[in-house]
């Protein structure tokens, strides 16, 4: 086994990981930085984000307004100290990205342009047409090439954290091209490994988003926070789950049911705004949870269109005209045309809610530190938590930057303050045990179970029992099914025994991670007997602040047991829980 020694290891080279790496390189040029990623950085799923990144820069906007939009959007489950820090830092981070070359769309006077976004009372979403995440990722990746201190290990699949005496001292990984195990001994590890939307069948998430990092931290004893909050994006293409950005609605697109009726006005988001003149924070500019839930109700009423890929409603952009669509939404126009055969200039696009984002994740405090010394986390894999029960669109790209950098700074402070040194011999023992565990996968007798088969069963139970609406019965069935699937995973064998670029073993490990996480999602959802944000219970339809104004914390209890669910108070500084109002009735 190859051993690499480094000061800080970062797992994941998407937006958060790259931002953290650059921050480390800038903090101290003498620091050795190892950036591990299971794909080349530019393949990271940040590239698929379309709409934009929120940050207050315009004179008509205020930090307070961004704060209250975010906290209300999160149904008061956000930690308000974290939100405040996030919002204060956002404009600086976005400006820094501008200095690094990000091709933000502009006003005619050359200043950065902003667009309206769901749940935001004021236009504050910076965007690069409809490829904001792509440009952010490539700007960060290309900028990272300036820093020789950043040593990248591309296509290296991290499997486990190395924990010695209650401190994280590195991680173990499989080098895909050789199949060899690597141990990266580090004084601190930052997880930036993304979400796990792939545990659901219909998702905007790429194949790589299997929550490996979350599962790794979970198995190492770090609680996963608020895992029941899974965001459905209201406008995905039905056949593939491809994302049509919220920018579509930001620019004035509307949702219609099978009768052409703008149904959102029936779900507390009216009155109907005039076509082409969207009113901020109402109707189609409501938050994602409400829009996806409204879809479900329309479906129950039989107002959706039946397609071969299930029920859909229409996204109507025809009134925007070709010129505006080409300027602001060229990518999604092409996507809809190619994958659904619909030109949004002339026709309405059938869409449906698809799993998009996990508000929950690795429990961190406001400094991006986890309870496990030496372990930090940022980005979708982490839960700091600024997104609460429902993330507002365009907050997550900014989150990558703000907390990616913060995790790096915290890691540096941790190394300096604690004077931590790596216990090489102990780390090596841990790594050897991990290697044995991975090798054992190859030795399992070949049975009937297949990765694809187990995965499909996971899809079915997650979609059926832990979707937009849940109840006691569905969640109980899902948790039971997931417990069974985790058992059966133990007998799943790796059929491909070869070393080089073995994606078979990778898929087995990814499925294992997803099953662990799926169980935390379902168990947390089962225990939360209320409806809040993206977590909606048919049997507990109201928000219950007396019992559940709390973060749920799922802790690992071994390969066969379900997680222990515990609760942690939400930090409230200046905004007491109130009514989420998207009717446009008051300011």
């Amino acid at each position: 086994m190859e051993t690499i020694q480094t000061d800080v290891a970062i797992v994941g080279a998407g937006g958060a990981g790259l931002r953290a790496a650059i921050a480390l390189a800038e903090a101290d040029p003498g620091l050795s930085i190892t950036l591990l990623s299971k794909v080349y950085p530019m393949r990271s799923h940040t590239c698929a984000a379309e709409g934009g990144a929120a940050g207050v820069i315009k004179p008509d906007d205020s930090l307070d307004q961004h704060f209250s939009d975010t906290v209300g959007g999160g149904d008061w489950l956000c930690d308000q100290d974290a939100v405040e820090l996030f919002i204060n830092e956002a404009p600086r981070e976005l400006t820094r990205l501008e200095h690094w070359g990000c091709p933000w769309s502009r006003e005619t006077d050359g200043s950065v342009a902003v667009r309206p976004f769901g749940g935001m009372k004021i236009k504050r979403t910076w965007f690069a047409a409809d490829k904001s995440g792509f440009h952010i990722l490539h700007t960060l990746f290309q900028t990272s090439l300036k820093y020789p201190a950043i040593k990248r290990l591309d296509e290296v699949f991290t499997t486990d954290l190395i924990v010695v005496d209650g401190k994280v001292q590195g991680c173990c990984a499989i080098e895909m091209r050789t199949g060899q195990m690597i141990q990266v001994q580090a004084k601190a590890v930052i997880l930036c490994s993304g979400g796990g939307g792939r545990m659901f069948p219909f998702t905007t998430n790429g194949a790589i988003k299997t929550g490996d990092g979350m599962a790794m931290a979970y198995r190492a004893g770090v609680p996963l926070k608020d895992m029941e909050f899974v965001q459905y994006h209201p406008t995905g293409l039905p056949s593939t789950g491809i994302l049509l950005t919220e920018g579509c609605r930001g620019e004035g697109g509307v949702l219609r049911n099978k009768d052409g009726y703008r149904y959102l006005q029936d779900y507390g988001m009216g009155p109907e705004s005039p076509l082409g003149e969207p009113v901020l924070k109402t109707m189609e500019l409501g938050p994602r949870d409400r829009l996806s839930q409204a879809f479900w109700h329309e479906q129950q009423k039989g107002n959706t269109i039946q397609t071969q890929w299930g029920d859909c409603v229409y996204l109507d952009l025809r009134h925007l005209g070709e010129a505006k669509i080409n300027e602001r939404l060229p990518f999604v126009r092409d996507l809809a045309k190619s994958y659904s055969g619909v030109d949004m200039v002339t026709d309405m696009v059938p869409i449906r809610p698809v799993v998009h984002y996990m508000m929950g994740g690795i429990h961190t405090d406001i400094t991006a530190a986890t309870p496990l010394p030496g372990l930090f986390a940022a980005g979708e894999c982490a839960c700091v938590s600024i997104n609460g029960a429902n993330r507002l669109g365009s907050n997550s790209l900014t989150e990558l930057l703000v907390f990616g950098r913060r995790a790096a700074e915290s890691a540096v402070a941790y190394i300096k303050d604690s004077g931590v040194s790596v216990d090489g011999a102990a780390a090596n023992r841990e790594a050897t045990a991990v290697e044995a565990r991975i090798r054992a996968l190859f030795d399992r007798p070949e049975g009937d179970e297949t990765t694809a088969g187990l995965r499909q069963e996971m899809f079915d139970t997650m979609e059926g029992g832990a979707g937009i609406y849940r109840d006691e019965a569905s969640l109980t069935a899902t948790t039971a099914k997931l417990a069974e699937l985790r058992q059966r995973w133990q007998t799943l064998s790796v059929r491909d025994k070869s070393a080089v670029f073995n994606t078979d073993v990778m898929q087995v490990l990814e499925l294992g991670a997803m099953l662990d996480l799926a169980e935390t999602v379902a168990s947390s959802a089962l225990e939360r007997k209320e409806s809040r944000g993206s977590h909606q219970r048919l049997d507990h339809t109201e928000r219950d602040d007396t019992r559940y104004l709390k973060h749920s914390m799922a802790s690992y209890r071994g390969e066969t047991a379900p997680p222990a669910i515990d609760y942690l108070d939400v930090t409230i500084t200046k905004s007491q829980p109130g009514v989420r109002d998207y009717s446009g009735a008051k300011s």
Binding site: R177, T178, Q180, A499, V500
Partner: protein
């Protein structure tokens, strides 16, 4: 080390047989042989002109030989092909600003074709008159 990346060799002399795109490219490149030979002939002709009427007339006679005619038919075809590929590619290499964008490629190409027609007409008329 379990790696053993397999390198597929690219045949140095016949690579362009792989697809039509490459063959079209080679046809464009080969046009230079014909254009070059034609111009070499023209340069020689100019020298013959300087040498007096007899030399010039011998040159004109040589031009009417079947071999010369066949060559010129081919050269004409390749030169025309060169011209079309050249004009079609011009907007890629040379962009002309127009307001907040560039003159659209097809417009640039069409302008080139128009000018080409004009220049060709002038040349034909001049040679015809002389």
């Amino acid at each position: 080390m379990s790696r053993k990346p397999f390198v597929r060799p690219v045949p140095a002399t016949t690579w362009y047989m792989r697809n039509g795109r490459y063959l079209r490219y080679m046809a464009r490149e080969v046009s230079s042989l014909f254009i070059g030979l034609y111009m070499a002939g023209l340069a020689m002709g100019l020298m013959r002109l300087a040498q007096g009427p007899d030399a010039w007339n011998a040159y004109l006679t040589a031009l009417s030989s079947p071999l010369a005619l066949v060559f010129h038919v081919l050269a004409f075809a390749f030169a025309t092909y060169h011209a079309t590929t050249w004009f079609n590619a011009t907007p890629k290499a040379m962009r002309i600003r127009w307001g907040d964008g560039y003159v659209p490629g097809p417009t640039v190409v069409r302008a080139h074709y128009a000018l080409w027609g004009l220049v060709s007409l002038v040349i034909l008329v001049l040679v015809g008159v002389i």
